[in-house]
């Protein structure tokens, strides 16, 4: 078979590189790295480190969106898992705190999956329930206060490092690897893409769609819970009101930038993470540039617009048409 350039993904990777180069122009020290107390520091490391929660969310979200669904509750699930982890951190060993937080995330995902797959609710409404209620649950857990903890074990998830690399980055890499192995190493990936591409046809081909969808929402809950642990560990406390606030939208954005259609079907894990990094690279760049952070949202919207234009089939059709006319 002749070698073909992979068309998919070029736009996203190009966009990430361009944005990183612009960041370099804004801040000449952008690519500088230094090792301090056995941990890497630098703006580039910051992009990856700060982008970790959204990257983790996008790993679950991309699967949900590939089935044609959406999960608006991931921000709230982050708040719940952060609250649980922070509440248990000083009284229990860290595996208990982390395990309980992750377990809560999986339960939240199972609930979403139950509503969508079994009760056949529209995903956007079904997950809206937990998006609203979840934050309330988190507040009940923290009793309305900001719960702080001092356990260095749990703090390691946000501020520690492995071989000099900050833990959140390691966790993203690990989860990307695990998700990739689970999804592409089994038949899950094909069946998810089939179910998202045409649910009726997949069902008539013998694909069991319901367990598939429940599993995908559970995985999304797990990823959100891990993101919540990272976010809580980073500030050594849980703020039920603000942890993960609006991050569901960033996660959806990351997935869309990563080329997965909101109608479902084809998906790419790596490009979803790439999308999360694009978002964070922009945020960091604007902070470094000294512009007021208000610009952040406008610039973000403009960049998203450009990436989506590059993916637009209508536009590439028009461009091809123009090229032909000129030739």
């Amino acid at each position: 078979m002749p070698f073909r350039l992979p068309r998919r993904g070029l736009a996203q990777i190009a966009a990430l590189i361009v944005i990183l180069l612009i960041d370099r122009m804004v801040s000449p020290q952008f690519f500088d790295l230094r090792l301090q107390d056995g941990r890497l520091f630098g703006s580039l490391v910051d992009v990856f480190n700060r982008g970790a929660p959204v990257a983790l969310l996008s790993l679950g979200m991309v699967l949900v969106i590939a089935t044609g669904g959406i999960d608006l509750s991931v921000g709230a699930v982050m708040a719940i898992s952060g609250a649980i982890a922070a509440s248990l951190a000083d009284s229990h060993a860290w595996p208990v705190a982390v395990g309980a937080a992750l377990g809560a995330g999986v339960i939240c995902g199972a609930w979403n999956g139950f509503l969508v797959a079994v009760l056949r609710m529209q995903p956007i409404v079904a997950t809206l329930i937990l998006m609203v209620a979840g934050r309330g649950v988190a507040q009940l857990i923290t009793e309305g206060r900001i719960v702080t903890f001092s356990s260095p074990d749990l703090a390691w998830f946000g501020t520690g490092s492995v071989l000099g690399i900050p833990t959140p980055i390691v966790l993203v890499a690990l989860m990307l690897l695990v998700t990739g192995l689970v999804v592409r190493g089994s038949a899950l990936g094909l069946l998810i893409e089939a179910a998202g591409g045409n649910a009726r046809a997949s069902e008539l081909s013998g694909v069991g769609i319901r367990p598939l969808i429940v599993a995908v929402y559970m995985w999304c809950g797990l990823c959100a819970a891990l993101a919540g642990i990272v976010a809580a560990s980073d500030i050594m406390g849980a703020d039920a009101n603000n942890a993960g606030l609006w991050l569901e939208l960033d996660a959806i954005l990351a997935v869309v930038i990563g080329g997965t259609s909101l109608f479902g079907g084809r998906f790419s894990l790596i490009l979803a993470v790439c999308g999360a990094l694009i978002i964070q690279a922009m945020n960091t760049g604007i902070l470094l540039s000294g512009y007021p952070p208000e610009f952040n949202l406008v610039v973000k919207a403009a960049v998203v617009m450009v990436v989506l234009l590059l993916q637009s089939p209508k536009l590439s059709e028009l461009a091809a048409g123009l090229g032909r006319r000129r030739a």
């Binding site: 078979m1 038949a187 893409e193 046809a201 008539l204 081909s205």
Partner: protein, 510 residues
């Protein structure tokens, strides 16, 4: 109707042609509608009825041919232009706004105004007066959605006619109406015809055709089969026009197959679902082709879906190789080694974004389960084997299936099921929308599969096809199995008679 004193035709269609890629949807079709005539347009799915209507109403562009309205050539490019010319269409799903009032719907986009303000009172008065003309005395300020579908239909017709329509096309208007509502609609149609409006009536209810139409035009496979006066066309001849070739052509069609009847593969006893399909007995044997014949809506696809578990039966038992089975979902069916190529290839069959390879391995992978993935090498081997075996073109396993022609998509779907090495394959209209070359190939494939011991259940509107490959034909009517024809007894004529049986009896009794 007196043929000699016929007025000038209202709508004349001559030599109309329309192709979608290699498929000829309309092949030089003529159609004539006279003023004041109710003209039934008949044909099975895929015969070209909707394409003809879409071309006349400007939804689709034609490849060749002329359309004349009252002798003047028209070429509508949009429904709006067609409407301006005087051709209006009312679809089965009423295209009005159920949340707006009846009056607002009738005058949408042309409300009576005073200084730019809509004159609600005037609009209501006019709407009420308009509907009185149809014998409807209803509150025109109530939302349209609060009325029955029949009243909504009359409103849609009233709006269309009020927009100066001279040709009114009714596409399956009676499909969701009860007997009383149909009567009401027919009264409206007769009143309009009396005013000189020409009505094209698309339906698959033959009783209604005989009740209301003056003339019948039958299409089959995109070709005009004939135009007849309703009064002089017996029902059995009409069914023949719709389903079979001319009588003289069909005598030697049946191929001789002398297969020894195999062992029973799947057996269904008293199998049925209330309100869906009457309980039936069906035995499918290895190496045997069972054809399902009947008119549109007679229960052919319903049988297929019950057999495949896509619809859950509420009565009867099913067994495979003499063992009772659970058949609650397509998943159960696939595990048992059943396959099903559905009629609606686009919505129920292919997954357009995925590649040919992925589409081929899908059922096998679903059968194996998530934990036993086919390696990429196995997938490539399976895809390559079937692309070669079925001559799928282009022979590129990595091409998205949505880019293939209809015939090749159908072959990929066949490959999807052959890959699981099925014991029973259900094919619903396997040759629908497929060009002539691929058509013959698919029929050849059906025969080959059968010779290899597969049990086949095939649905087709093409009686010639059914006659050509079936060992046994089950005839359906009104959502029930009504008869079985075996071997030598199978012919187009015998099937048509079986389908028409009760109607003939009814006519004799009358």
């Amino acid at each position: 109707m007196n043929e000699a004193s016929e007025a000038r035709p209202l709508l004349e269609v001559r030599g109309l042609a329309k192709s979608f890629a290699a498929l000829r949807a309309l092949d030089r079709v003529d159609f004539t509608l006279r003023p004041g005539e109710i003209h039934a347009l008949l044909g099975e799915n895929g015969a070209g009825k909707s394409t003809l209507i879409k071309v006349i109403t400007g939804v689709l562009a034609r490849d060749a041919g002329v359309i004349r309205l009252e002798g003047r050539e028209v070429a509508p490019r949009t429904t709006k232009e067609a409407l301006a010319a005087g051709i209006a269409t009312v679809y089965q799903e009423v295209n009005l706004l159920p949340n707006l009032s009846v009056a607002q719907n009738l005058y949408l986009g042309r409300q009576p105004t005073w200084c730019g303000i809509v004159r609600e009172g005037e609009m209501k008065r006019r709407a009420a007066a308009l509907l009185e003309g149809y014998g409807l005395h209803i509150d025109v300020s109530a939302p349209l959605g609060s009325y029955s579908v029949a009243i909504q239909h009359v409103c849609a017709i009233a709006r269309a006619v009020d927009l100066s329509a001279r040709v009114l096309i009714l596409d399956e208007p009676t499909a969701s109406l009860d007997r009383h509502e149909v009567e009401m609609l027919f009264k409206t149609m007769r009143a309009l015809a009396a005013r000189g409006i020409g009505i094209i009536f698309v339906t698959h209810f033959l009783d209604q055709v005989y009740q209301i139409s003056d003339r019948i035009t039958v299409l089959r496979n995109g070709k005009l089969i004939g135009e007849r006066a309703t009064a002089s066309l017996p029902r059995i001849d009409l069914i023949h026009m719709m389903l079979g070739r001319e009588l003289s052509e069909t005598t030697s069609e049946r191929a001789a197959h002398d297969r020894a009847a195999g062992k029973p593969c799947a057996t269904f006893k008293d199998y049925g679902k209330a309100g869906y399909l009457a309980p039936f007995d069906l035995e499918l044997r290895h190496g045997e082709v069972v054809g399902l014949a009947g008119l549109l809506g007679s229960g052919r696809t319903e049988t297929a879906r019950l057999v495949f578990g896509a619809e859950r039966a509420d009565s009867g038992t099913a067994s495979v190789e003499d063992e009772a089975i659970r058949l609650h979902s397509p998943r159960d069916a696939v595990r048992l080694g059943f396959g099903y190529c559905p009629e609606e290839r686009k919505s129920d069959g292919i997954i357009a974004d995925l590649t040919v390879r992925e589409n081929i391995v899908l059922a096998l992978q679903a059968k194996l389960g998530i934990a036993r993935p086919l390696s990429r090498r196995e997938q490539d081997a399976i895809a390559e084997r079937f692309i070669k075996l079925l001559d799928i073109r282009p022979p590129d396993p990595e091409r998205p299936i949505g880019l293939l022609s209809g015939g090749n998509q159908q072959k990929v779907l066949l490959a999807r099921w052959l890959a699981i090495e099925p014991r029973l394959l259900v094919l619903d209209e396997p040759t629908r929308g497929i060009d002539v070359g691929a058509h013959a190939e698919i029929i050849r494939l059906v025969r080959e599969l059968c010779d290899r011991g597969l049990a086949l259940l095939v649905i087709s509107s093409e009686l010639d096809e059914i006659v050509a490959y079936s060992d046994r034909v089950v005839v359906l009517r009104d959502r029930a199995h009504v008869g079985t024809l075996q071997d030598a007894a199978i012919s187009v004529l015998s099937i048509v008679s079986a389908i028409a049986a009760d109607h003939v009896a009814a006519e004799e009794g009358a």
